[in-house]
């Protein structure tokens, strides 16, 4: 047997994987954070952590799923950090109250504003369910929560959305009235 720990050519593999898959991570991170710059920060932190453990991760059956899980976990860690949750850095102290969010007008931007305004956990469930098209079981496994929690988080978000939808031009009356 070899007496020395082996070091596979992981550097080349990681760079190839990065080129192929980073944009998918950026998109998911954007939907999770609601902000392109915050998404970039989230993705870079996730990539750095993946890079540090690549010699193990590269052996996984589904590297992309592993990376997505790492991204969501990093997002969850970030929103749990009290400093980030409680404080928002601004360049100047505002001299007037922040305006209320504009009323729902049925546009794409309005739906996006709605998603961005969801609590982080609910938002993660919504993004994984309706963008990544994961099953409730897969989301539960990925986020380390129960399937029941996934269902309740998803249900609450949909109910809140429907409550804003009665006048949406593309929603059927039956659906909007549920």
């Amino acid at each position: 047997m070899a007496a020395t720990r082996l070091r596979p050519p992981e550097g080349l593999e990681f760079e190839a994987w990065l080129v192929a898959r980073e944009s998918a991570l950026q998109r998911t991170a954007h939907l999770l954070t609601g902000d392109v710059h915050a998404a970039q920060d989230l993705v870079q932190t996730t990539l750095a952590k993946l890079y540090l453990r690549w010699d193990r991760i590269r052996l996984a059956d589904n590297v992309d799923a592993y990376a997505r899980k790492a991204l969501v976990n990093e997002f969850r860690s970030a929103w749990r950090r009290p400093v980030r949750r409680a404080e928002q850095v601004v360049e100047r102290v505002p001299d007037r109250p922040t305006p209320e969010a504009p009323a729902y007008d049925g546009s794409r931007e309005a739906v996006w504003r709605f998603v961005s305004g969801l609590p982080p956990k609910q938002r993660a469930v919504i993004v994984l369910r309706f963008y990544e098209q994961l099953t409730e079981t897969e989301i539960a496994d990925l986020m380390g929560i129960s399937v029941g929690t996934v269902k309740s988080q998803s249900s609450r978000a949909l109910a809140a959305l429907r409550a804003r939808l009665p006048d949406h031009p593309e929603i059927s009356g039956e659906e909007a009235g549920r």
Binding site: L31, A48, A60
Partner: protein, 389 residues
């Protein structure tokens, strides 16, 4: 349209309408360095705590309270007592040193990751590079060095001193398959698979098979003579197998945890903590060793930790902290003691002997190596242990 459909459509439209930045490898590397710096500080504290705990256990033993670990301060390399020479061949710079003290010199040994005696010479495998990831396999005999081919830097060695097994890549390419070589026997292996033999069992060569591409999963396999029937093992990354072939260890299918698996039934017998890099089984397969790497540290109190477990039960027999030292490789002297290559922060190296009783002595004199960089790929150590069964 339902609310669900609206969400799906909106989220897709948002991402399609947005241009995203790309992350360069240099950014990833720089960020990982920053993260690792923070991690090191945490690990240093944990390791320091481990030393304190180890010291407590040692005191408990002296007081007759018993316990599993028998740690003691290893101290700087020069302060350790010099014991008998290693009962395992080793490499010292460009020289292969046998257990009987015979020394064979070749430029091929200077870049070798590992080597093994074979017939009237020595087979050796170099470390690959980023641009040439495969190892160069060479044969040194009678003062001449001949190139055998390219492969993975690993030799599976039988206890009886017979032919070692190793893998050669066809055309020195990652994607063309290759041959599993043992003596005169050569078995073709599939395209796209890189084989790393780690042991020889009664059923055949125990090897990991990883994909040269990105998509295929990795496997642990037993390849019987003739290579026609591959027996899959329930592992992703394979580290070691017992000579009897009944136990194998490596990375579990969850890609997170180390496992020790009954190779016959596929049953996971126990899980070494993921903090340990599991190493080798002892000659009879009774013990398994592992190293908890702490890495380069500024404090003399912090160093790598060597662990020894009962391979069948997972009961930890020994946890030995080596303050101020980095451990690079381990090989068993039968079932009795473990040899490790240890470096200090100045780059000095020695082969140390760790006994099951927690004793730590030097098996070689201290040699001057190359100081390990704080970041990046470390250089090959001057001392390297030869392949062992």
């Amino acid at each position: 349209m339902t609310a669900e459909d609206l969400l799906t459509r909106t989220l897709n439209e948002i991402t399609e309408a947005t241009e995203y930045p790309t992350t360069s490898m240099s950014t990833v590397v720089a960020r990982s360095r920053a993260i690792r710096g923070g991690g090191r500080r945490r690990v240093a504290l944990l390791a320091a705590a481990a030393v304190v705990v180890a010291g407590g256990l040692s005191a408990a033993l002296l007081l007759g309270h018993g316990g599993d670990s028998t740690p003691g301060p290893a101290g700087p390399l020069g302060d350790l007592e010099q014991g008998p020479a290693p009962k395992v061949d080793y490499l010292d710079g460009d020289t292969f040193v046998t257990t009987s003290g015979e020394r064979v010199t070749s430029p091929a040994f200077a870049k070798a990751v590992t080597a093994v005696r074979w017939k009237n010479g020595v087979l050796t495998a170099s470390r690959g590079t980023i641009s040439h990831p495969l190892s160069t396999i060479s044969f040194v005999s009678g003062g001449a060095t001949s190139r055998v081919g390219c492969g993975t830097p690993s030799f599976a060695v039988p206890l009886d001193g017979g032919d070692p097994a190793y893998w050669l890549a066809t055309g020195c390419r990652l994607d063309r398959g290759g041959e599993l070589v043992r003596g005169e026997a050569r078995d073709d292996t599939p395209k796209g698979a890189l084989l790393t033999p780690v042991g020889l069992a009664a059923d055949g060569v125990v090897t990991s098979a990883s994909s040269s591409g990105l998509r295929l999963p990795s496997h642990a396999l037993v390849i019987p003579p003739g290579g026609k029937r591959w027996i899959p093992l329930p592992l992703l990354g394979l580290r070691a197998a017992t000579e009897a072939g009944n136990l194998v260890t490596g990375l579990g299918r969850d890609a997170e945890h180390n496992v020790v698996v009954d190779a016959g039934t596929g049953q996971v017998k126990w899980r070494p903590s993921s903090a340990w890099a599991v190493g080798r089984f002892s000659a009879s397969g009774r013990y398994l060793t592992g190293i908890e790497s702490v890495g380069v540290q500024q404090s003399d109190d912090v160093g790598d930790i060597v662990g020894i477990w009962d391979a069948a039960t997972g009961h930890q027999v020994l946890q030995q902290a080596l303050p101020g030292l980095i451990v690079d490789a381990a090989a068993w002297e039968g079932d009795d003691s473990l040899l490790v290559v240890a470096e200090d922060r100045q780059g000095q190296e020695a082969v140390l002997r760790v006994g099951l009783d927690g004793s730590v002595t030097r098996a070689t004199s201290v040699v001057t190596g190359v100081p390990r960089p704080a970041e990046g790929r470390p250089p090959l150590t001057t001392l390297r242990l030869a392949a062992t069964p």
